[in-house]
Symmetry: C3
Amino acid sequence: MRKLLLHLDTSPMASVFDRIVAYDGGADEVLSYAGVCVDAVRDLVHGAIFTRGPKDLHNTAIFISGTDMTAGEQLLDAVQRTFFGPMRVSVMLDSNGSNTTAVAAVARLLQVVGDVRGRRAIVVAGTGPVGTRAAGLLARAGANVAITSRHADEAGRVAAHIRERFGGVVESIVVTDVSQLAAALGGAELLLNAVPPLGIEGVDVTDSAADRNGVKTFGALGVGTFKMKVHKRCVAKLFERSDLVLDAESIGEVARELMQPSPAPPSVPPPG
Amino acid sequence: MRKLLLHLDTSPMASVFDRIVAYDGGADEVLSYAGVCVDAVRDLVHGAIFTRGPKDLHNTAIFISGTDMTAGEQLLDAVQRTFFGPMRVSVMLDSNGSNTTAVAAVARLLQVVGDVRGRRAIVVAGTGPVGTRAAGLLARAGANVAITSRHADEAGRVAAHIRERFGGVVESIVVTDVSQLAAALGGAELLLNAVPPLGIEGVDVTDSAADRNGVKTFGALGVGTFKMKVHKRCVAKLFERSDLVLDAESIGEVARELMQPSPAPPSVPPPG
Amino acid sequence: MRKLLLHLDTSPMASVFDRIVAYDGGADEVLSYAGVCVDAVRDLVHGAIFTRGPKDLHNTAIFISGTDMTAGEQLLDAVQRTFFGPMRVSVMLDSNGSNTTAVAAVARLLQVVGDVRGRRAIVVAGTGPVGTRAAGLLARAGANVAITSRHADEAGRVAAHIRERFGGVVESIVVTDVSQLAAALGGAELLLNAVPPLGIEGVDVTDSAADRNGVKTFGALGVGTFKMKVHKRCVAKLFERSDLVLDAESIGEVARELMQPSPAPPSVPPPG
């Protein structure tokens, strides 16, 4: 029985990126739908859960993507509300690559700096899809997080949304020019640049633990290889059971499994 | 050479259900098109019949679906008019699962009650896609069929359409509340409930030969397993030759083949 | 690693023809997008080039189709501008089958008549997608080409576009009725009919070196089998490397390879 991934994309064209990674992650066929809104979810999900018997449902899974993270969260919610009892399949949310990229970036950051509890971390462009997930994961790990945005209203709203979703300390800082960013960085030990920067000199989206004036800086794009590994491993896991929900936290666990060193081979070969 | 199923869906999103069953029925690849109208058929079908030589055309087939049975019938007609000589592929119509579900329900009913010639059968909600196909198949088997509907105009129109398509006796009954249904059931021996009921107490869409006040009741959803078996077998048959047209009657024949017991093994093993 | 063909179609429905030939040509999966305009290219191509490492990128390729050749040319240009350094995949343009059909027709013509330098060739309906490509290939081979059209403005514009793209001699002739065509044919030795004719008696779209009143006539549809062979071989070649650009001229080279006789087996079998 083939492994079928139902790909629900909120954007007008289904993500090529996510389709290719789905194939490389182990899906046999990817059934892509573009422009998916909440109203369409019920029929699409019924098609996924009513076609194969409960014991075969781990061969079907759902992947939610698109450029709009909020729309993706709404789809994830609608998908889960359509499930009942054993009539369900595993589902993953990764709108705009936000979860896998944020998980990879934060995992790399934690690997380098260790315990972040009580330490001040700035997420630049923290209102975008990758930024919100990264900020949430850092807050969950105990950091005092601040997200920057050019718009006061948006910054406050997004920070509240992150606190509600992940808990922890997340504040917002309005940054309209470089001088304000310098002030905002006061006291920060960690800086994660979630998207190509808005003209911030000396901060690079590909930074990976660079030291810039005493602030350790990380860029979301500096973790591309690990992000791909996490993404593909997550797709593979979707087909191992029918009740997985892969969102920021659970994708974070997949990343931790991947970072653990393989067990050393036994020093004495087994007899025989 | 891969078995390719061209999936033409009249609805805005191609049915997930039909795509998954197509894979499970043996299609190697499913090429789905949504929002297909009659005007688009010619180019789509030309793509199917002009790409492989006549002797290989049994590896390509067409599956028509969507929520609107009338639109599906029009596509089937347009598809067949595009064929010429050996330039044709097998084609199946199953808008809304109507044919496979109706065939499975009626096959189950005939299996239980035997000959229905001259017996009165009521199809509740008989103007929907499953109801019209079930009513037609029962009329074709010789039953005196009545379909119920809440709307007089629609009921009469649909009954005429069924008689024209399937022959036999099909009348319509307007039922706007439960008391009228009770009257309508007078003299009926068989009741098939084609969709979740409109508040009819004591009749269940999952009934399978339940006896309710002397009327044997059947529900379309009580035959899900057999419906899936019929659906998958039909998809497999599409790729056995290039001139099959699978609609209600021919799908009914597939169901009968599936219900026949396998031939007993020879009592004496062949010598040698 | 599966061979994935990203199929970008400028028409509202992705070509069934091109999807099927893609599978038969060796693509493992075809990812089709319809209604693709230049604005959408960047994200689609990024998905193709950022998902697999440079050494694996030959397993991904792009195929551009649709009924509008100009739109297809614009997509090809936009696709190539998105590539950078080793981040690129092979790409083929065949809007409306124009390149493969024109290449096959012209290859057949050259095979029959040999050197066309300085000879007068008429391409009937030369402003359509197949006609423009065929006229260009003939001009490139040295023929004095004239394309016919019913509209003076269009004919002149298209002839100029062909000269700019392919070089050589291409003029336009306005033909609004049969008598004008007869005059236009004066002095012509070769006639290629690129689409079903507009009422020209005695010229058939399936002609293959027919002799009609001293003019050798060729029809685009007389080369269907060879066109399919060229088309499939081109798809296969896309996956051999990551830097191929298959347009009229390079597809012409593929056709020439296919027309060459296989090398004779050695007359003396190798010892041993």
